[in-house]
């Protein structure tokens, strides 16, 4: 239990800092932090699959996009929709697509699984990109932002910030509890050695499918938040670049830990802002990808366990002696490799 305490304190302090942040930051800061928190929700949804279950999904943008498009398309044009009905509906729709995609793609493994999930995401992308359903390539606007009574008007940036923070906290707590449940232990078992799980009598397919559906639903929640925050959706939300970016975020943060997804989301976005800022780099700021790319390469070379592994590296603790343990320790070489 003592080893858990620093982690718990870290999470507690982070959320407390996020809660007081709007009091010290300006409009720009609040807007940026809202966006980062939305991506953190999306990253958490993928962390459940990649870090906890060992399923590398390359189609998370589809569920994100479906949540966002559902938000816009299901909002009435004559008044604000109710958050209490719209939000669950968006989550359910994303989860429903995840059920279909998961049921089919979980037949494959490893890199094949990565590519099948990409294929289904691309199908969703082309549906909104090439049909008039969602305004085609131009995207569509959300006319009236959803609300709940008078006290939750998501049109106000500060309310939106707090609502997003609440969603992030809710997702984090939900996934943390899930990880400690029997279900979570089964997922961990599947990640470490699926054969052995099957040998001990677990039918692993339903567990993986359930994880996939839950993950899709959470990504749908992130999509809802994104659509409400920007008041605008376009097909690029569903492109494979977003799926890739979320994957990069959680690897950068450190797999196998929920806080890795949080750290990764903030680190990735802040690095982007840093290298993009003209105040620091002047003219060179438009080549911000260069600095970002070099930083990522350096982080792979120097931090094999991601950002979350820095304290352990500094204080020389051995990896994987307790809890979680990243994918690295479980399957050192051949994870997702095709060779039998």
């Amino acid at each position: 239990m003592r080893a858990q305490l620093p982690k718990f304190l870290f999470v507690l302090v982070s959320f407390a800092a996020l809660a007081v942040f709007p009091h010290v930051a300006g409009n720009f800061g609040v807007d940026l932090a809202t966006k980062i928190m939305i991506f953190a929700v999306l990253a958490l949804s993928l962390e459940l699959l990649v870090g906890k279950t060992g399923l590398v999904c390359f189609g998370q943008a589809a569920f994100f996009g479906i949540g966002a498009y559902a938000t816009v398309l299901l909002s009435p044009s004559d008044g604000p929709a109710s958050v209490a009905t719209l939000l669950p509906l968006c989550v359910l729709l994303a989860a429903a697509y995840a059920l279909v995609v998961g049921a089919l793609s979980l037949r494959t493994k490893g890199v094949y699984f990565i590519m099948v999930t990409l294929a289904f995401a691309q199908m969703a992308y082309y549906v909104v990109h090439d049909t008039p359903l969602g305004g085609g390539t131009d995207g569509i606007y959300l006319m009236m932002k959803p609300a709940l009574g008078d006290w939750l008007d998501l049109d106000k940036p500060l309310v939106m910030y707090r609502f997003t923070l609440a969603c992030l906290l809710g997702t984090f707590v939900f996934l943390a509890l899930l990880g400690r449940s029997k279900f979570g232990h089964a997922l961990a078992g599947i990640r470490v050695n699926e054969q052995r799980m099957r040998a001990t009598g677990f039918s692993t397919y339903p567990y993986k499918l359930a994880a996939f559906v839950v993950s899709g639903g959470i990504a749908g929640l992130a999509g809802f938040l994104f659509a409400v925050k920007d008041g605008f959706v376009n097909p690029e939300m569903m492109s494979w670049h977003i799926s890739g970016e979320v994957l990069i975020i959680i690897i950068l943060g450190g797999l196998g830990h929920l806080r890795g997804a949080l750290i990764g989301a903030f680190a990735f976005a802040l690095l982007q802002e840093f290298f993009r800022s003209e105040a620091i780099f002047g003219e060179f700021a438009k080549h911000w990808h260069l600095g970002l790319g070099l930083t990522i390469i350096a982080s792979v070379a120097l931090l094999p366990r991601g950002l979350v592994g820095i304290p352990a590296q500094l204080f020389g603790r051995k990896p994987g002696t307790h809890s979680g343990g990243a994918l690295a320790q479980a399957t050192p070489t051949k994870a997702g490799h095709a060779q039998p």
């Binding site: 990649v50 590398v56 089919l104 793609s105 037949r107 494959t108 493994k109 890199v111 094949y112 590519m115 099948v116 990409l118 294929a119 289904f120 691309q122 199908m123 082309y126 549906v127 990109h129 090439d130 494979w240 670049h241 890739g244 994957l247 990069i248 690897i251 950068l252 797999l255 080549h287 990808h289 260069l290 970002l292 790319g293 070099l294 930083t295 990522i296 390469i297 982080s299 792979v300 070379a301 094999p304 994918l327 690295a328 399957t331 050192p332 070489t333 051949k334 994870a335 997702g336 490799h337 095709a338 060779q339 039998p340």
Partner: protein, 293 residues
């Protein structure tokens, strides 16, 4: 669709498919043999195309031009680049898990794209086909078919045959095939596996660069071209079965046909056809068409 149009589309499909095969074969080799997921492979194609654009004036100024001189120079640079990259960035990735490789090679993509932007700029450029290949062959009464596209198909076919020869008939090919099945065993038999990997990687880079160079006059060069090729090549690799050259050839021809005829017959859904094809094939055969090993 009359017979001539059909024929032309068949040739286009063949040319596109063979070009995909060149890039994808390097990807499947690097993945199948070295176990590295190389997201930066599309960037090598992009680098090749930009080399065709940037080296041609340089070659013209120094040795008075020459299409094949440019290709040769590009090829030498590509081998050097591949060798260097393997040494600097990839050699420490073999023992890491796949997702670390994904992160690393993603970083490389960003770096390559920005270096391209710094060196050549962000404009779309056309590349001239050499004069002796810029003619057209008449087909039927109305249609013509450009010679250069036939040239691309020819080059790709030659390379494919060359690769087959190296793999199936030479000692090097034997070592590579053995290395992909069991790394430790080959090493204990006295083969310098590190050097072998470096050669395979450099060859993979060189083939992708060459594909980019010969494709440049047809596709023109533009920012982001690497990303498009990368995703399609991954599709080819998984349809064919990871590590299988034969599978990659069949899958790229299949995708060439589906994509080319899709654009002609059902343009509304052409973009998604390739992915539908992949999903169907993988649901039918979860390990791709030809499993290596």
């Amino acid at each position: 669709m009359d017979l001539t149009t059909f024929l032309i589309q068949c040739l286009n499909a063949l040319q596109y498919g063979l070009l995909l095969f060149l890039v994808a074969s390097g990807l499947t080799l690097i993945f199948g043999i070295m176990g590295v997921i190389n997201l930066a492979h599309g960037s090598f194609y992009m680098i090749g195309a930009y080399m065709a654009f940037a080296l041609a004036p340089f070659v013209a100024a120094t040795v008075g031009g020459g299409f094949f001189t440019t290709l040769l120079l590009g090829l030498i640079l590509a081998v050097a680049l591949g060798y260097l990259l393997e040494w600097a960035f990839y050699s420490f990735l073999y023992t890491r898990e796949h997702l670390q490789q994904v992160l690393m090679t993603y970083g490389l993509i960003l770096v390559f794209e920005e270096l391209r932007s710094l060196l050549v700029g962000d404009d779309v450029h056309g590349v001239q086909a050499p004069d002796f290949l810029s003619g057209s062959i008449p087909l039927g009464d109305m249609m013509v078919y450009p010679v250069y596209r036939l040239f691309i198909s020819g080059v790709c076919l030659l390379l494919a045959l060359g690769m087959y020869f190296v793999f199936a008939k030479t000692r090097l090919g034997m070592m590579i095939r053995a290395g992909s099945t069991n790394r430790e065993m080959v090493q204990s038999l006295g083969v310098d596996i590190k050097f072998l990997y470096r050669v395979v990687f450099a060859a993979g880079v060189a083939i992708a660069v060459l594909a980019g160079m010969v494709a440049a006059p047809v596709s023109s060069v533009y920012p982001g071209m690497g990303g498009l090729v990368l995703i399609i090549c991954f599709v080819v690799v998984v349809i064919g079965g990871i590590g299988s050259i034969r599978g990659a050839l069949l899958a790229s021809l299949l995708i060439g046909v589906v994509d080319t005829f899709g654009k002609v017959l059902v343009p509304q859904v052409a973009g998604v056809l390739v992915y539908v094809l992949m999903a169907v094939i993988l649901l039918w055969k979860p390990d791709g068409l030809f499993k290596a090993g």
